[in-house]
């Protein structure tokens, strides 16, 4: 038994051609178990719109096809979702089509594909790399829960504060929190905290907490941000106390 579902897809041929931005509608067969990703794969074979026009296949991103890697993140009815994790029948609104759009905060490549390199750039700005480790250190297994980001871009998209040149976002901050907690990352912990206190860092978090809601890996991103905020404040107080009386140290004052 299969039903028909209409996909309404936002398309654009290239970033340089905003005039090609348009919605196109396609009918796809939907069986229980089908995901948005499997529907997009099926659509590749016959990209014919509802009004019978044969068009170029819809460009979309998909890698593992197994709910593992986060490559296929997009907007489903305005909400950030992984295409291979989202049920096609479950995504149908009460009325009207299922609307698919590319992530809106990353540079568009074509149709549903965006350029995710700014996510890596955000990590780089915060110094989220590891030096050569010197001695054996056992990471507490409890850290594994914050150690599984797949750079899917969901938290960057959903956060009201993030932007390409502004707030680095929850994933990058979580990465700093993780690396600072690791034995192998301790040597640069202070430098990372300094970066986190700089422009685009932790002060830009508006505490909307949507990052936690959208993370497909269930990473407690907001806890990471709070933890980092504590460490940053401590570091700030420490720097101050080196120079003047601790009484002058008032976190939050510019």
């Amino acid at each position: 038994m299969s039903e028909k579902v209409v996909l309404r897809i936002l398309r654009q041929d290239s970033p340089a051609e905003p005039e090609t931005r348009r919605f196109e509608e396609f009918a796809v067969k939907a069986a229980p178990g089908d995901s948005i990703a499997s529907a997009l794969f099926a659509l590749r074979a016959s990209p014919v719109t509802l009004d019978g026009q044969r068009v170029a296949p819809v460009a979309f991103e998909s890698a593992c096809r197994g709910d593992r890697c986060g490559a296929c993140t997009l907007l489903v009815n305005g909400h950030v979702r992984s295409a291979c994790r989202t049920s096609l029948l479950g995504a149908r609104p009460k009325r009207g089509p299922v609307v698919l759009e590319p992530l809106s905060k990353l540079p568009l490549v074509r149709d549903l594909i965006v350029d995710k390199s700014p996510l890596r750039a955000a990590r780089q700005r915060l110094g989220a790399w590891l030096e050569e480790p010197t001695e054996e250190a056992h990471a507490p297994f409890a850290l594994a829960v914050i150690d599984r980001c797949s750079e899917c871009g969901a938290c960057f998209e959903a956060c009201p504060e993030t932007s390409r040149d502004g707030f680095a976002g929850a994933a990058a901050l979580n990465e700093v929190r993780l690396l600072n907690a690791l034995g192998a990352g301790a040597a640069r912990a202070s430098a990372r905290l300094d970066a986190v206190m700089g422009p685009g860092g932790i002060a830009d978090c508006g505490k909307a907490r949507v990052c936690v809601e959208v993370c497909p890996e269930g990473i407690p991103l907001f806890d990471s941000i709070l933890g980092l905020e504590r460490d940053a404040t401590r570091r700030w107080l420490g720097t101050l106390s080196g120079r003047r009386a601790p009484a002058a140290a008032r976190p939050g004052r510019k």
Partner: protein, 446 residues
């Protein structure tokens, strides 16, 4: 001017190779279709194998692997089993969160086919944790200018100089369609196996082995390209094939008549070993994997055959090296295979770079022109034959004659998309061109 060392592919093997090279102070260029975090190796559940137990030794580890891979694999497997214990140490120093007992000792799991308990895991996310640590190390080299990554670039062809040595590659940027030549002093393939050629009727994530085919076209020798290992815990969800971690076998999971019943097993160790994979199963099917039987199939998983290499990781083409799943003979954990061989690979590539000066860049231009012409031709075709359908049939292991017919149909196929930008059909056409070469070798193998 000297050219960088080129690594093609950014799964764990590519990351390990790039890191080992950068740590020797060698300038590295990585060309990869996908970033490591979306690579096939990161989506796997395997842990690492190493002779770490008191009752174990690298020799015993080697004997177990040879039983699976055959005696001929001894030269590639012996250094691997020898290096594996130190590799686990190095990963511990990088704080990979391996499971440990209360006393801090690593937990060793005995997998089917192993005579000893020698697998270490971080739940079923070992590959992801390892890859993330390697990425954090690589980012430092990138910041310091020793490493350049070009992600979203598909290598269309290798380039050889007048003396037959590989002196670079021509690649196409998926996002923009730009075609460019990259000169290289030494090139390493880290492009994975070709198990996709054995997966019929599914949107398998596994590759079709295009890069292996391209290497073969340049004269690389293959070993047993039709040899595949199977995975006992595959299930279908929404048209896709997914896997449950092999390690649940160590907890007593055993399919009976196609059904895997986990309900009689202890829930806590099961959740610790395979929690995220079982959650994904529950999301995809709506069923409770801890309570209801799971319909599983045994399916092709990894290719055991692939490129033949010397103990120095050189293929039979001068200047072309290989690491990881693209290489023939690796049995056991693919993570161990990729990671424990990066150091000897980097030593060999460093020697190669010292012995051979800057490559001839002229050779690149001719190949760039040829690839540009071919791109134009592929994009201009308007045939009714579909590359998707041809890919589907290629996965059904065609005979030689069927393959000839398939190649002829491919030459008539239209892409249905004339744009060079983010063109999935064009990308698949390139994949097919390489895969045909490999599929022919498989069809011709005795």
């Amino acid at each position: 001017m000297s050219a960088p060392t080129l690594v093609i592919g950014e799964g764990i093997a590519g990351q390990a190779a790039a890191l080992a090279l950068a740590e020797r102070g060698i300038q590295v260029l990585v060309l990869a279709e996908r970033p490591a975090e979306h690579s096939e190796s990161v989506s796997r559940h395997d842990g690492l194998d190493a002779a770490l137990g008191d009752d174990d030794s690298p020799e015993r580890h080697l004997e177990d692997l040879l039983a699976a891979a055959g005696e001929a694999a001894r030269p590639v497997l012996a250094p691997l089993t020898e290096a594996a214990p130190a590799l686990v140490d190095a990963l511990c120093r990088l704080d990979v969160p391996f499971e440990r007992a209360r006393n801090g000792e690593l937990c060793l799991v005995k997998l089917p086919g192993s005579s000893r308990a020698r697998s270490v895991h971080a739940s079923c996310e070992t590959a992801r944790h390892v890859s993330r640590r390697l990425a954090a190390r690589l980012l430092r080299h990138e910041v310091e200018g020793r490493l350049e990554r070009r992600i979203g670039w598909r290598v269309i062809d290798l380039v050889r100089d007048g003396e037959g040595r590989v002196c670079g590659a021509v690649a196409q940027c998926f996002a923009t369609g730009e075609i460019r030549g990259f000169a290289a002093t030494g090139t390493c393939l880290a492009t994975g196996g070709h198990a996709g050629l054995f997966m019929a009727d599914t949107h398998a994530p596994a590759g079709l082995g295009a890069m292996t085919g391209i290497a073969v076209r340049h004269g690389a020798e293959l070993v047993a390209p039709g040899s595949v290992s199977h995975h006992p815990f595959c299930y279908r969800a929404g048209g896709f094939v997914r896997r449950l971690p092999r390690r649940i076998a160590a907890l007593g999971a055993e399919p009976e008549a196609g059904l895997l019943d986990l309900s009689k097993l202890d829930r806590a160790p099961l959740r610790a070993a395979a929690g995220s994979a079982l959650e994904a199963y529950a999301r995809a099917t709506g069923a409770d994997p801890y309570a209801e039987p799971i319909a599983v199939e045994t399916m092709p998983d990894r290719t055991l055959g692939g490129l033949e290499i010397t103990p120095e990781h050189a293929t039979s083409v001068a200047g072309l090296f290989a690491i990881g799943g693209v290489v023939a003979g690796y049995a056991g954990s693919p993570l161990t295979a990729a990671l424990s061989t990066a150091k000897p690979l980097s030593e060999a590539m460093q020697r190669y770079a010292e012995e051979h000066g800057a490559p001839e860049e002229r050779a690149l231009d001719a190949v760039v022109k040829r690839v540009e012409r071919r791109t134009e031709e592929l994009l201009g075709r308007e045939g009714d034959e579909s590359v998707l359908e041809i890919a589907r049939e290629l996965r059904r292991q065609p005979s030689r004659d069927e393959l000839d017919a398939l190649v002829a149909r491919f030459e008539e196929a239209g892409l249905g998309d004339g744009s060079p930008r983010a063109n999935g059909a064009l990308s698949l056409a390139w994949e097919l061109e390489g895969a045909f070469v490999l599929a022919r070798r498989i069809a011709e193998a005795p």
